[in-house]
């Protein structure tokens, strides 16, 4: 099919918006299930739960269902751990036809016992997949029984794939975490303490962020869930503040913790100089009785930006006037990306996400330039169409988008599971700029037909 002459997918009109002078108000129909038959880039409830809990490294994660769900999520995310690495193994009950007919509870029980004996984890997460919801296994009862026998938390995660969108999976994961929170001692937690929420330690990013806060004199109790540990999560209700990144996945947990434990939360982003600095200042501002925290924050920002500024100018002068398309999981990330791209002279011609909500898209519209296309739950045809029409030089996306960009002859930066270098923090902004620069300016494009074969 010729992507240059395609129309929008029927029924997709409400999920695509172009910002124009005097144009209509933005009213994107988001939060909906994808149209049947669309080549959607989205995933399911299970996927949402799995990615959120995945980095908890001293727990076992067992997928209750046929083999696929466990196979496809085996070590797919570079969420690094400084110690135990149980999360990088793949455990499955590998349900067979007979189990579907007679139920899989016994098999789950047996598997859990075998696993806990073998690996001595600090907790176990049990993910239910599509058919577990259908055959009616009472996984809560199995979990309770094993918990009593083995004396560790055994937590059901109700993540049947068809029961909503990826966001519902985030919620299921958060509610499993909520069960753990409050079961540990808060001894030794200072008044100047936080949890880092929604940071998954891809390529070691959580360590960078943690170090900034610790330099400011703030105690970081738990990171959820990057480099996560069960004990830290259990005592995480002892902090004074929750600092939430990746709004889609962890805001519900922050709200629950506020309600139950009275812990206030703020939303931040660690991406780009501007947002990174703000996330340090915002936290410091909430501890006004200790002005040295703010002093230290200012010092970190000053030192770090000074370190990277000259190199950034080099990237900027090469990239000024280049255009980017963004299609990522959460909308919150898009905001930071737009600002970060502006820092290096690039404009955004397409901005979209898989899971943004109405507020996100309204804010996105405010931030974008005239002519920018905003999409929710897009597909490859649409993405190709707009990349060509808007003459983008770069696509920022995930694994399924990468080869599309390269076929079209435009640069690419993975801002999803497959980033291999830290993109968070000040150093992360430098890494991002360098990656974008190297990809957009790569000599390969001299040899490659570009932009529909026209160039």
């Amino acid at each position: 099919m010729d992507t240059e002459h395609i129309s929008l997918l029927k029924g997709r009109e409400k999920q695509v918006y172009e910002k124009k002078q005097g144009g209509a108000e933005i009213d994107i129909a988001c939060d909906t299930k994808s149209l049947s038959g669309s080549v959607s880039q989205r995933a399911c409830v299970f996927c949402g739960s799995r990615v959120v809990l995945y980095p908890v490294a001293d727990a076992i994660h067992i997928v209750h269902g046929p083999i696929g769900c466990a196979a496809y999520t085996w070590d797919i995310r570079g969420a690094v751990s400084s110690g135990p690495e149980l999360h990088r193994l793949s455990f499955s009950t590998d349900l067979q036809e007979m189990d579907v007919i007679y139920g899989g509870e016994k098999k789950l029980y047996q598997s859990l016992i075998e696993l806990i004996d073998q690996y001595q984890p600090n907790a176990a997460f049990i993910y239910s997949t599509c058919i577990v919801g259908l055959i009616g296994d009472d996984i809560d009862a199995v979990c309770k029984k094993v918990e009593q026998e083995k004396g560790i938390p055994v937590l059901p995660v109700h993540s049947e794939g068809f029961k909503g969108t990826k966001k519902d999976g985030y919620r299921a994961a958060c509610s499993a975490l909520m069960t753990l929170i409050g079961t540990g001692s808060t001894e030794g937690i200072s008044k100047y303490s936080i949890n880092i929420l929604g940071e998954f330690n891809l390529a070691g990013e959580a360590w960078i962020i943690r170090e900034y806060y610790e330099k400011m004199g703030i105690q970081v109790v738990a990171t959820m869930t990057g480099d996560g540990r069960i004990d830290a999560i259990r005592r995480s209700h002892g902090v004074s503040l929750n600092v939430v990144q990746c709004s889609g996945s962890m805001t519900s947990l922050a709200k629950d913790m506020e309600e139950t434990y009275g812990i206030p939360f703020i939303r931040v982003s660690y991406f780009g100089f501007e947002d990174m600095s703000k996330s340090l200042y915002d936290v410091a501002a909430l501890f006004p009785d200790r002005p040295e925290i703010m002093e230290k924050a200012k010092e970190i920002v000053r030192d770090e930006i000074r370190k990277y500024y000259p190199e950034m100018q080099k990237f900027k002068s090469a990239l000024t006037g280049k255009k980017a398309a963004i299609y990522v999981g959460g909308a919150f990330k898009t905001f930071s990306l737009i600002k970060a791209l502006r820092t290096i002279g690039m404009s955004v011609v397409l901005a979209g996400s898989q899971t943004g909500n109405k507020d996100d898209y309204r804010r996105l519209k405010e931030m974008c330039d005239e002519g920018t296309v905003i999409v929710d739950d897009s597909n490859p045809v649409e993405l190709s169409k707009f990349i060509l029409e808007k003459e983008a030089d770069l696509l920022i996306g995930g694994v399924k988008e990468r080869p599309i960009a390269f076929k079209l002859g435009v640069g690419f930066c993975d801002h999803n599971h497959e980033r291999k270098i830290p993109l968070a923090g000040f150093v992360g902004m430098y890494n991002f700029a360098k990656e974008v620069y190297e990809s957009v300016m790569s000599p390969v494009w001299q040899f490659a037909p570009r932009k529909g074969g026209l160039l």
Partner: protein, 459 residues
């Protein structure tokens, strides 16, 4: 030591699978369907399934992989997925305009009892399938078999639902490709051409999943077996199925429906299996083997002889899929190596029987397939009897690292290297490539480990 928890003591496990040596049916069906020109694979299930399969195939091929999903909701899982699939068919034809949609089921749609045959018939009756367009299907429940079963089922679906016998025989031979790489399919076509046999190869993912950079995103790349070619397989003289597990079911289906006689042989991996392939194909096409093919064989044998001193007695552990493992094991034995541990997550009597026949030459070997035949068990076996070489897909890298074993990547998926989609491992030329990889792995290790006085220029 990522696998530090693996113990050498092998205990019977009742339920648990640790680090699987297989995945589920639907991804196989999706891969097979990509081997039809102008086909959009469609996953009848939750959105996640389709997303995972596309991601995995994308990681393996570094190519865009297109497929639709029925996007099941709670409602669909209660009332059945018929409405979703009917809508999907309509949407796909009106927007993505494929020549054909290849629907596969999932554990979810199978468990709720959706009948793909009935739903696709209804779509046709309701006029949702435009003139000259097709919908085929395969039942691929994830709780039976493995990704290989799903591939076999979809390929059998092509034969069952497409082929017609006009009564007029064509001077051509069908070749059913077992699960192999686009590079392998390209090589099979080259060899057939060299032999002078007209073939129809299906499925055929060459020029689909190894497409060139063109500045365009071709939603339907130029490769793939065409609908006309597929139809014509019913009139072919005979069928050659390459693989007992992944290819034979399609050959049987063709025989049943159109009375095309078939022969099943192993996938032509290594010397002996390729010999059998060349003999079978030249017989089927009634041609003699040309000098060029004989020379290719001679080059492989030459290198096998040149390098025999580096190969003999070397112990190998291998894991992966039935139709790869059987001829690969045979090849290792032909190389005078010792395949000591063999694991496959894919169940099946035919596979077991065939492997046992091959292993008569290697009575010392451990072999297990099906339930609980996983990477954990393979690792335990290796701890008990160490090996000189590990061969398998990317998931072998953990064991290779922890046990410090040279590792040759072969099979599906390969997520961290390129080459498999471009350089074949079937045929004599492919055998030479496999041999080169094995030798390089062994000799690189010898160089790395050698003491300075033993570190030699000529090895």
């Amino acid at each position: 030591m990522l696998l530090r928890h693996t113990t050498s003591e092998v205990k019977e496990r009742e339920g648990l699978t640790i680090n699987p040596a297989k995945t589920c049916q639907p991804i196989g069906a999706m891969y097979a369907a990509l081997g039809i020109h102008g086909c959009l694979p469609h996953s009848h299930g939750s959105q996640g399934c389709c997303s995972y399969h596309r991601s995995t195939l994308t990681r393996h091929y570094k190519e865009p992989v297109m497929a639709g999903t029925s996007s099941f909701t709670e409602g669909a899982s209660v009332f059945g997925g018929q409405a979703n699939l009917l809508q999907a068919i309509e949407t796909i034809f009106s927007v993505y305009d494929p020549d054909i949609i290849a629907v596969h089921s999932t554990c979810l749609s199978e468990t709720i009892g959706d009948d793909l045959q009935q739903i696709t018939k209804k779509a046709k009756d309701d006029g949702k399938i435009p003139e000259g367009k097709y919908v085929i299907y395969a039942s691929t429940p994830s709780f039976i078999g493995s990704h290989i079963t799903g591939y076999a089922n979809m390929v059998a679906g092509m034969a069952e639902q497409f082929t017609v016998s006009t009564g007029e025989k064509k001077d051509q031979v069908n070749i059913v490709a077992g699960w192999m790489e686009p590079s392998d399919m390209r090589e099979i076509k080259r060899v057939a051409k060299e032999l002078g046999v007209k073939i129809v190869l299906f499925p055929d993912t060459s020029d689909v999943l190894d497409a060139p950079q063109t500045g365009k995103h071709e939603f339907y790349p130029k490769g793939g077996v065409t609908i006309d070619e597929l139809k014509s397989t019913g009139d072919s003289k005979s069928t050659l199925a390459l693989g007992y597990v992944s290819a034979e079911p399609a050959a049987i289906a063709l025989d049943k429906k159109c009375k095309v006689p078939f022969e099943t042989i192993e996938m032509p991996i290594g010397l002996s299996a390729t010999d059998r392939f060349i003999v079978a194909l030249s017989k089927a096409g009634q041609v003699s083997v040309p000098a060029e093919i004989t020379a290719e064989r001679g080059r492989l044998v030459d290198v096998m002889a040149d390098m025999e001193q580096y190969l003999y007695g070397k112990k190998v552990a291998l894991f992966g899929d039935p139709d790869h493992l059987v001829p690969l094991t045979e090849f290792l034995l032909d190389l005078n190596m010792k395949p000591v541990h063999i694991i496959s997550g894919t169940p099946g009597m035919k596979f077991e029987k065939r492997m046992q026949e091959i292993l008569e030459r290697a009575p010392y070997a451990n072999f297990k397939n099906g339930l609980n035949a996983d990477m954990f068990l393979l690792h335990q076996w290796i701890k008990n009897e160490p090996v000189d070489l590990l061969i398998g897909n990317t998931y072998g890298k953990y064991i290779a690292r922890d046990e410090d074993i040279p590792f040759v990547r072969y099979g599906f998926p390969i997520l961290d290297r390129v080459g498999h989609s471009y350089f074949p491992s079937v045929g004599y030329t492919g055998g030479l490539r496999l041999l080169e990889k094995i030798l390089t792995a062994l000799l690189d290790r010898q160089d790395r480990d050698a003491l300075e006085e033993k570190f030699e220029l000529v090895m």
